[in-house]
């Protein structure tokens, strides 16, 4: 064994994560007060520079309103849609695709049109996406029993019964996708606010995907693995902790017609970082990074001009600054609200305990050449059947670069342990431990990978995804959380109970519209 190991290049890499040190100071409640000269008046303050905050800013600008600032804790905007760049390689740090929006999602189609991603919209509202932004074929493959095969379902070696259950499942999802409620709304739609709240749909939220699938009489381990892959991919949850409503949404919300499998995937080498780049370039005058917002005091009297205060710690100047404002868009995850907004729980009577978040590990693996292959060629999305990871996405795929160095983005949701335990683990283990995990997983399909890796960078996401566990999406806590608290409006993907760019964007736009409406009246 020893001596037969391939040549191993000394590995380098970095262990990254959202600014944990600074973020945790929130918990210790900073009590600094800005000097008089460090106060300014501005009509609107957006807190949080992820997709929700950036989308809110985009919507305000679209309405011709420029009198706002957007405060972001990190140096980099985009939240979980951020991306990295090394030399000529761009790669995502988490979210890496959207599906072609359906006609219901006009604002997102507008944004994509502005970006040149959507070239045209047909008479019935269906967007025409530019060819090079649609995921290039071959799109996805799965490593199963020693060979790569096309597609996401581990069909190689599947029994006839496995395949029968798979087609039953597909037919079932297609039925849900076709279903319309009394008002003509789709049962499952993105953003979920455009879908139905029919009791038949909502009833699904009361049980887990696992128990729902059991009730359908399905037994195929491959089918369960396939569906669980979807749940782990979109929610960071195993089947028994995913709401059946969310489990079905993953499949049904992306089917437009019975004849089509799923809406086409739109992606970029930098993943959803491409959308972040567009939004930040449009908003550059309003954006301020390195700002730890630690206190928001809502106005007691809405009519009082500049009656609400936002206090932030400026990392660069190392001192607090204050904003007097009319309206705040709070575009951070809900769990931060009680830490930042004064008397939040006492005043609103809301608890954020129901908001649970999955932790993720994302690695960008830099390679000096492509690994050896057995079977179907390298795809955009490459999945390992049976692995706890979600496999990897090839960042060079969409640029048409098929030879030589590349960056693989590898995803690992913590589905086996509780969110709290996984966050502790994220902080405990070091870079070498994580890099080992990444390479061990990739070695399953690519035995030569260690001899090709030049660098492994690891991102730890402590609160990567809101969890749609049974009862949460259609429960009272989520519904209440989106209601504005006086002059404070909320925008974040967790208000949908699922973590998707489409949802973050929806809430950003919605919150901006609320602010615009309040200013008009």
């Amino acid at each position: 064994m020893i001596g037969c190991e391939p040549r191993v290049i000394p590995l380098q890499g970095e262990l990254l994560g959202p600014d944990i040190g600074l973020g945790h100071r929130l918990r210790d409640s900073l009590s600094l007060v800005p000097a008089d000269a460090d106060w300014q008046e501005i009509p609107v303050v957006i807190v949080g520079g992820g997709i929700a905050g950036l989308s809110a800013g985009w919507r305000l600008q679209q309405a011709g309103f420029y009198d706002f600032v957007l405060l972001e804790l990190e140096d980099q905007f985009g939240g979980t849609s951020r991306s990295g760049i090394t030399g000529s390689f761009q790669y995502p740090w988490a979210a890496h695709y959207i599906t072609t929006p359906m006609p219901e999602n006009m604002p997102l189609i507008q944004l994509l049109q502005e970006m040149g991603v959507v070239e045209d919209v047909s008479a019935d509202g269906v967007p025409v996406v530019a060819e090079h932004y649609l995921c290039r074929e071959p799109e996805e493959r799965i490593f199963c029993e020693g060979v790569w095969n096309e597609g996401l379902y581990p069909g190689y070696g599947a029994s006839r019964d496995d395949l029968r259950q798979k087609s039953e499942f597909d037919a079932c999802m297609s039925t849900w996708a076709q279903k319309r409620d009394a008002q003509g709304r789709r049962f499952f739609s993105l953003p979920i606010a455009t879908g139905s709240d029919d009791s038949e749909a909502i009833a699904l939220d009361k049980e887990s995907m696992l128990s729902w699938m059991n009730r359908q009489g399905w037994t195929s381990p491959r089918l369960f693995w396939y569906v669980e892959y979807g749940c782990r991919d979109d929610y960071g949850l195993p089947l028994d902790r995913t709401s059946a409503w969310a489990g079905i949404l993953y499949f049904a919300a992306r089917m437009r017609t019975a004849s089509k499998d799923s809406q086409d995937v739109i992606t970029w080498p930098s993943g959803n970082g491409h959308i972040v780049q567009h939004l930040t370039s449009r908003l550059s005058d309003q954006l301020r990074s390195g700002q730890l917002v630690y206190q928001i005091v809502p106005s007691r009297n809405h009519a009082e001009p500049f009656g609400t205060t936002v206090v932030a710690y400026d990392k660069k100047r190392q001192q607090p600054i204050g904003f007097r404002t009319d309206r705040v868009i709070f575009a951070l995850p809900q769990f931060l609200a009680p830490h930042v907004i004064q008397d939040f729980s006492a005043r609103t009577g809301r608890s954020t305990a129901d908001f649970q978040y999955s932790s993720w590990l994302v690695a960008n693996v830099h390679l000096r050449d492509r690994p050896q292959e057995n079977g179907f060629p390298l795809c955009w999305d490459n999945i390992l059947y049976g692995s706890k990871s979600l496999g990897y996405v090839v960042s060079t795929h969409q640029s048409g670069n098929d030879y030589g160095p590349s960056v693989f983005t590898w995803y690992y949701p913590f589905t086996d342990i509780s969110p709290m335990q996984s966050r502790e683990k994220l902080l405990q283990l070091g870079w070498a431990d994580w890099a080992d995990l990444v390479l061990a997983d990739l070695s399953l399909a690519h035995p030569d990978i260690r001899s090709l890796v030049t660098r492994v960078d690891i991102m730890r996401w402590g609160h990567a995804m809101i969890q749609p566990y049974p009862g949460f999406v259609w429960g009272p806590a989520r519904k209440a959380a989106a209601i504005s608290d006086g002059t404070i409006h909320f925008a974040n993907t967790d208000l949908s109970g699922i973590a998707l760019l489409e949802e973050a964007f929806y809430h950003g736009v919605r919150a901006a519209d609320e602010v615009l409406l309040a200013r008009a009246s």
Binding site: P6, R136, G375
Partner: protein, 508 residues
């Protein structure tokens, strides 16, 4: 008795035979997927046949009642011989015989039977000295460790560094050595009659395989020559492809990944038909772009135009363009095209290159390989052709090689329809090239064509194939090459690769 020999040595035997057994299986699977394609089917069949043969072997082991040690050694020797020569024999036989599959699976089956016999025999030999529980657990442990070793070392070490043929011979030697060594290890269980002869046979098998091992370089060339149908005069492995040049009585041939690119005997027909129609614009062509065509033969035709001021050749593989310059027969064939100061070579993936800003051209010649893979298929998409338009002067003409419209009509018309979908006006044409058969091309332009005959008087240079009548005749489509509908080839569907795969597989 044998318990004087440490048991661990016997476990080493188990380890060695388990490793050899799995290596033979992997070799057969890999080799079959090399020469027959479709690795999934080949691996699956090989594994299936092999495992069932092992079952047969295990079942047969009950009929061996006495002389267990002797049988074990004989089986080792047989395995050494059959397993050891399996890869070289299959490689050599492939192009010659019609019953390659029966031979392959026959070989896999016999290896499987022999491997299946080994373990039961060895366990029965050992059962005198160990209790059953220990025996099973230890033998199986070493068996599985051997399998692990084989499966790890095969892709990492043996295939890249030794190749299939030499790996096969090496493990045959290992098997033969196990046999030889076992004559000592199991000596107390063997009768002395014929023992010396057995030892000598083991040594002979090892020696033969060893000779094969060191002569393997010649063997692989030989095998490849049989596959390509000519004597190999040059071969190299670049990071992008396998390049081979073969020689026949009348001329030489270039192969990329085993696919014929040209035959020096009749390539002029192909290249005259490919290049000259693109050079017939109203103005004499001054700036020309050639994409693909690293052999320099299309460039040779372009250089016949004295109006030419610059020519950019975009080809992925520096190994190919270097070869065209430095390999003398090819350099002669392309008239030293790469030494002409007007020619600039750009070694880049044309898909990435075309997306960058750059000058516009009077004529473009597209000579990519056939769209047999996704990484080539992207070069025939609407996206690629739209990017190409940005690099064309308004009156520029483009020609595209489009595979055979006779063998692969869907593929051919898919390329034509894709050009049209990307906004080109297209005139399909074809030319007979004996080495290829009927070959298809497309003449494309952003501006509309008129219906007048092509101005042959604008063609420059000495020609061997084209005349005025022949040139205009190429655009007459015979009844069996009539237009048909097809999907449009896009990056997000790669329809062409699917057409091409099914049409050429059907024709094979």
């Amino acid at each position: 008795m044998i318990n004087r020999a440490p048991l661990s040595l016997l476990y080493l035997n188990v380890l060695a035979i388990a490793t050899c057994g799995l290596i033979y299986e992997l070799l057969a699977g890999t080799l079959a997927s090399y020469v027959l394609g479709d690795s999934v089917t080949q691996f699956s069949f090989v594994i299936g046949v092999y495992l069932s043969a092992m079952g047969v072997g295990a079942w047969l082991s009950q009929y061996i009642q006495s002389n267990l040690a002797r049988y074990f050694i004989e089986i080792e020797l047989a395995l050494a011989l059959i397993g050891g020569v399996s890869a070289p024999v299959l490689f050599l036989a492939f192009p010659w015989i019609d019953w390659f599959r029966p031979m392959l699976f026959g070989m896999v089956f016999s290896i499987g039977v022999l491997v299946g016999l080994e373990l039961p025999l060895l366990m029965r030999i050992l059962k005198e000295y160990l209790d059953f529980g220990d025996l099973v657990s230890r033998v199986l442990t070493f068996d599985y460790i051997g399998a692990l070793l084989a499966s790890l070392l095969f892709p990492i070490l043996f295939v890249p560094y030794l190749g299939l043929v030499r790996t096969s011979l090496l493990f045959g030697m290992l098997n033969a050595l196990v046999a030889w060594w076992s004559t000592y290890l199991l000596r107390p269980l063997l009768s002395s009659r014929g023992l010396e002869r057995l030892r000598w046979r083991a040594i002979l098998v090892t020696f033969l395989l060893c000779v094969g091992f060191f002569k393997a370089d010649q063997l692989t060339t030989l095998a490849e020559e049989n596959a390509l149908g000519g004597k190999i005069i040059y071969t190299t492995h670049s990071p992008y492809q396998r390049i081979a040049i073969t020689q026949k009585r009348l001329g030489f041939q270039l192969f990329l990944n085993g696919h014929l690119q040209f035959n020096s005997v009749d390539e002029y027909r192909y290249h005259e038909a490919l290049v000259h129609p693109a050079m017939l614009g109203n103005e004499p062509p001054r700036h020309v772009l050639v994409m693909g065509g690293g052999d320099g033969l299309a460039v040779r035709e372009c250089l016949k135009y004295s109006s030419l001021e610059s020519l950019s050749l975009v080809d992925l593989d520096p190994a190919m363009t270097q070869l065209s310059k430095n390999f003398e027969p090819l350099n002669r064939l392309n008239h030293g095209a790469f030494s002409d100061s007007r020619v600039e070579v750009i070694n880049e993936d044309a898909f990435l290159w075309i997306g960058k800003p750059g000058p516009q051209y009077d004529a473009v010649i597209i000579d990519f390989p056939d769209p047999g893979s996704y990484s080539v298929g992207k070069l025939y998409t609407t996206r690629f052709f739209r990017l190409l338009q940005k690099r064309l002067k308004p009156a520029a003409l483009v020609t595209v090689q489009c595979t055979s419209p006779l063998v692969a009509p869907k593929s051919y018309w898919c390329i034509v329809r894709t050009l049209e979908a990307a906004g080109f006006h297209v005139r399909p044409y074809h030319a007979p090239v004996p080495s290829f058969g009927i070959w298809g091309f497309a003449l494309a332009s952003i501006s509309e064509f008129d219906s007048t005959p092509l101005p042959f008087d604008r063609v420059r240079g000495e020609l061997r194939f084209l005349t005025n009548d022949v040139l205009n005749g190429l655009f007459e489509l015979p009844a069996d090459l009539q237009p048909m509908d097809s999907e449009i080839n896009r990056l997000d569907n790669q329809a062409l690769v699917h057409y091409y795969d099914s049409e050429w597989n059907r024709s094979d």
